[in-house]
């Protein structure tokens, strides 16, 4: 009886082991059904042709919730609840990689990184190893109402490759001619703090990771520019996200400068079709200033606790890291713009965009994407940005730039101690 039982048990174990071999199951956490989840589902279809033995389950999880769950699991050492693949905001990459060394699976040699924009890869590089397959593009651009420009006697070309001072000049004329704000951003200018600094090839930290705020020429130029924008009266300062979107959807502001994913919200105002154009962003008037930057975006990482990390990386590298066709599909249906550079050669990227008056918007954005300065992000990106936002608020209220930036520098040094 005992022998029979042992035999049965062995058979069952063998069978289940065999079926486990045949069916590898990968779970994925990501958010946004119209964008990331959609892309993942498409990637699943592509991979089913390559390796039908892998089953992929996508579990919708908000980006903040993904981070809470990872922090809880990794801090408590109970990692078996983690999935095989997680989408992570680019700004959070360093924080997780540096806080939990060894918690993520390095992908060097498994993913062809030459095909990705370098500024993206660097956000998930730690200790010389690369830990993510870059996904959606956060390349920044100026999205502008061309009819407003024309009313003031300008064209899209007049707004291309310019400095912020020139942008303010044009903005004043546009406001005079149309009565509308030239630009809208959320009050506090937080998005501009990081976008402008990066556009001039600087970041809030130096190469060793020390805070670099009060002696940083780009930060100083950025703060001065934001004060000028604020004083000029051409900027609508929206109190929250929905007012921000409303300001360009209802035409009270003529442009926004943002990561390219904002397109999804711009095209909501169907009555404005044909009246929009896209160009690169204004530059800071310092030596290293460029007209390119990024804002937002995310990448796929694989927790080291995964039972099949190699399978997970193989799936990512053969879809998000290798398939031009895949990026064509997701661009057409969801507007998800790739950071996979060869994708730009696909026909969908050179299609004229009707909402933007026939401009080849995606081709232009991919072109900007390859020129974004590569800066080294730190662990405390958000904290440093928030301290600078506080400093700018103090300057608006009468503080001197020197004092405010010195305060921001010591505040972030204190946080990092």
């Amino acid at each position: 009886m005992k022998k029979l039982f042992a035999l049965l048990l062995a058979t069952v174990m063998l069978l289940s082991a065999a079926s486990a071999l045949a069916q590898t199951k990968l779970t994925v956490w990501c958010w946004d059904p119209a964008f990331n989840i959609y892309a993942m589902e498409e990637a699943k279809k592509v991979y089913a042709q390559i390796n039908p033995d892998v089953e992929i389950e996508v579990i919708e999880t908000l980006s903040g919730d993904c981070e809470t769950r990872q922090t809880t699991a990794l801090s408590s050492g109970q990692t078996d609840t983690l999935p095989d693949i997680v989408l992570m905001q680019d700004n959070s990459g360093r924080r997780f990689l540096d806080t939990f060394p060894g918690a993520y699976f390095p992908m060097d040699g498994l993913v062809d990184y030459d095909n990705f924009a370098t500024y993206k890869i660097d956000k998930f590089t730690s200790g010389g190893k690369r830990y993510a397959v870059p996904f959606d593009n956060g390349v920044a651009a100026t999205f502008v109402r061309t009819d407003y420009l024309e009313a003031a006697g300008f064209t899209l070309a007049d707004l291309t490759d310019i400095t912020w001072d020139r942008f303010i000049e044009i903005g004043l004329k546009v406001k005079e001619a149309t009565g509308n704000y030239m630009l809208v951003t959320q009050a506090g200018y937080a998005d501009f703090v990081s976008m402008m600094t990066q556009s001039a090839d600087f970041w809030f930290f130096d190469d060793e990771g020390h805070p670099n705020i009060n002696t940083n020429p780009a930060v100083r130029a950025m703060v001065e520019t934001i004060v000028k924008l604020h004083d000029s009266g051409i900027v609508k300062e929206a109190v929250d996200w929905s007012e921000y979107i409303a300001s360009f959807n209802n035409g009270s502001a003529g442009s926004t400068i943002q990561g390219c994913w904002i397109i999804g919200s711009i095209v909501l105002a169907k009555d404005q079709a044909g009246k929009w154009g896209v160009t690169n962003i204004p530059r800071l008037d310092i030596e290293s200033g460029t007209n390119y930057s990024s804002q937002g975006g995310s990448s796929w990482v694989v927790p080291a606790s995964s039972k099949n990390p190699e399978a997970a990386v193989d799936f990512l590298s053969k879809t998000f890291g290798a398939s031009v066709e895949f990026y064509q599909t997701i661009l057409q249906s969801s507007g998800a713009i790739a950071t996979y550079l060869p994708a730009a050669d696909g026909p969908a990227y050179s299609e004229p965009h009707p909402f933007f008056n026939g401009q080849k918007v995606f081709e232009d954005l991919m072109n900007y994407s390859s020129k974004v300065p590569l800066v080294k992000y730190g662990v405390y990106n958000y904290e440093a940005r928030d301290e600078i936002v506080n400093a700018i608020e103090a300057i608006f209220n009468g503080a001197s730039i020197d004092t405010a930036l010195n305060d921001a520098q010591s505040a972030i040094e204190f946080i990092m101690e």
């Binding site: 958010w31 919708e60 109970q78």
Partner: protein
């Protein structure tokens, strides 16, 4: 005649103030419900009147899936937790008053001190414990941490102090067991306190986010707040749909509150006096 119908300025002022306050508290609800019937573009542009998009929002919500599962899970978790929690906490609160023990006030003091620890601080150790006990993705895992809350024990202890102790003694003399005294005499008399506690417990279970987020990770166990939150993650937000989900999620709370309103007010007053 004259005295009855004269308009008193203080009274007008009082009513104007009350109208203003009622408007301030009711308007967000109205806006939420009317937004559920509008499409996103209209909501962003500030439309306040009800629109014709309710069915579109509803169909979008249904096609997003899982609204039924999330609603059912939340309701089940909240109802079961409310019953268990009320039973255990009121038993404890009652015990603190009725039985004599020289340590009981000190024990209560320690319990009260534990209220000072913010829940976020205990999140990681708790997750570690529950994960080692194999309670991740179980209802028990969700409920155990809040099955006995200090707040409720304290509330029932205060309520029990107003309870006439002579009745307990009389019942003892008549030979009724301790547990039956609690169940047959204390519970019926304390109905208002139970109503108040039920609302508070149900509401905190219904709204809880952080703990179910980490302990109930299986998508089949998703609760309504987490489900509703998932619509806030996109680059483009569907406000009409979000408002519909939020409206749906307030319905059980409204029903419960209106059903227990009378005794809720009495219960709160009772525990304070």
């Amino acid at each position: 005649m004259t005295g009855k119908f004269r308009i008193k300025p203080m009274r007008v002022l009082k009513h104007l103030f009350l109208i203003l306050v009622s408007f301030l508290s009711a308007f967000p609800f109205y806006w939420m419900v009317s937004s559920a019937t509008n499409d996103t573009a209209d909501i962003i542009l500030g439309r306040i009147l009800p629109g014709k998009h309710l069915m579109v929002n509803w169909n979008n919500l249904v096609s997003a899936g899982k609204i039924g599962t999330a609603f059912f899970n939340s309701l089940r978790n909240a109802v079961v937790l409310t019953f268990l929690s009320l039973f255990i906490s009121s038993l404890a609160g009652y015990g603190f008053v009725v039985f004599r023990d020289k340590w009981k006030n000190k024990v209560m003091g320690v319990l009260m001190l534990s209220m000072m620890i913010p829940p976020a601080a205990t999140l990681i150790p708790m997750f570690r414990m529950f994960s080692q006990l194999g309670l991740v993705n179980t209802m028990a895992g969700f409920m155990l941490p809040s099955i006995a809350t200090v707040f409720l024990i304290f509330m029932f202890r205060q309520a029990a102090q107003t309870f006439p102790f002579e009745i307990v003694q009389a019942a003892r003399i008549d030979g009724l067991g301790e547990f039956n005294i609690f169940l047959r005499i204390f519970v019926p008399v304390m109905r208002p306190s139970y109503s108040a506690a039920a609302i508070v417990t149900f509401m905190s279970a219904w709204n809880s986010y952080l703990w179910p987020l980490v302990i109930l990770q299986n998508p089949d166990q998703i609760t309504l707040p987490i489900y509703a939150g998932s619509f806030r993650g996109g680059y483009v937000l569907d406000y009409g749909l979000i408002m519909l989900v939020v409206t749906i999620s307030t319905i059980p709370m409204l029903i419960l509150f209106f059903a227990l309103q009378r005794s809720f007010v009495a219960g709160i007053l009772g525990s304070v006096k």
